[in-house]
């Protein structure tokens, strides 16, 4: 049985695609056959983050409409063994996704893959609901900022009421909080919600905290998932999150303010 994990947030721009790419890659690195599906029909971006934008021929909607087979649409990642990407359509709209169509594709993928990562579009409209409908687990990507936290709570409500598991009265979707763009320095100054503040409000288990890092933009510039940058704090924090997702214990790190030299501290900055 494949495990279906949706990466969602409600709010846009918090790091869903970055996290989907990083976590999908991390799971594949551990030797599990993994596919990442871009559900953002009309605004596809996962291909760009994964660096395979020039290899897209067919997409998710083509497969749903039986204009292409799954094996024609799946793109095999060049860097990571056991990793595949199913790109979103750039030309259609979100109505192209139907419950039956998505279910058919997921069932076919489940025969071959151990993990299916669904990269949700922003919002709570059809595309986002379709991405979470079949999920077994959800990674709720949240920034330590008021609008993101509120939207995450909203999406948690939808996971608990509008998913297939909720409708069928089965065991609820596993919920995981992934706090991204975390800035320990600003938290120490009382300018940013802390990990425990966000945990208090959302009350779901913490999967990981990804510090704000220059490495994230650098990785997306190059079309490389940031988890492969093992020199960066963000990359290592994502790897920790993947380890925890696989049930391993990993202490939180990169939450302390880095000590700066005396002169730098004196001058500020």
């Amino acid at each position: 049985m494949a495990k279906i994990i949706v990466v969602t947030s409600g709010k846009g721009g918090v790091g869903k695609t970055t996290s989907s790419a990083a976590i999908g890659t991390g799971i594949a690195l551990k030797g599990h056959k993994t596919v990442i599906i871009d559900f953002d029909v009309g605004l596809r971006n996962l291909d760009l983050i994964m660096g395979c934008e020039r290899r897209v021929v067919y997409d998710f909607v083509n497969v749903i409409n039986k204009e292409a087979t799954l094996s024609q649409a799946l793109i095999k990642d060049k860097r990571t063994k056991d990793l595949f990407i199913l790109p979103a359509s750039q030309t259609r709209d979100k109505d192209a996704l139907t419950v039956e169509g998505v279910q058919g594709v997921l069932e076919e993928l489940a025969k071959e893959f151990e993990y299916i990562i669904c990269d949700s579009p922003a919002g709570i409209e059809k595309g986002a609901q379709m991405a979470l409908y079949f999920a077994d687990a959800a990674i709720v990507v949240t920034n330590p900022e008021v609008s993101s936290v509120r939207d995450s709570d909203r999406i948690l409500g939808i996971l608990q009421s509008k998913s297939k598991r909720a409708e069928e009265g089965r065991e609820p979707i596993e919920e995981h909080l992934l706090l991204t763009r975390y800035h320990p320095g600003r938290v120490a100054l009382g300018e940013m919600l802390s990990v425990s503040d966000v945990e208090d409000i959302l009350a779901i288990p913490l999967l990981g905290v990804i510090p704000e890092s220059e490495a994230v933009l650098k990785a997306s510039n190059q079309g490389t998932p940031v988890i492969l940058d093992t020199e960066s704090e963000a990359g290592l924090a994502y790897m920790d999150a993947v380890d925890r997702l696989m049930g391993e214990e990993r202490p939180l790190r990169f939450l302390e303010v880095q000590k700066k030299g005396f002169i730098k501290r004196l001058l500020g900055g």
Binding site: V146, D153, S161, E191, I201, L267
Partner: protein
């Protein structure tokens, strides 16, 4: 933190704690509405219309809430009537 920041007043609550307080209130409010049936707002409006046939009240004078416990649901209706003159 630069040398000049040491002179700033520390008395005001931090903006992060303001954010947390605001979020706790709005999230609790939105969660309480989450399990309400869709017909509730319309029912509230119709109840207000009926009362208004007899007494002059505003929309905000009627509070309606549905509480679900294990085996029963309680519909609580609070109407503030204007002072008689």
């Amino acid at each position: 933190m630069g040398i000049f920041d040491y002179f700033k007043s520390k008395s005001a609550p931090s903006s992060a704690s303001v954010a947390k307080d605001r979020l706790q209130i709005i999230v609790a409010h939105e969660r309480s509405k989450r399990h309400q049936p869709d017909y509730l707002p319309q029912m509230q409006q119709e109840i207000i219309d009926v009362i208004r046939k007899y007494v002059n009240i505003g929309n905000e004078d009627v509070q309606i809430q549905l509480d679900n416990t294990d085996d029963c649901s309680v519909l609580e209706l609070n109407v503030t009537l204007p002072e008689q003159n």
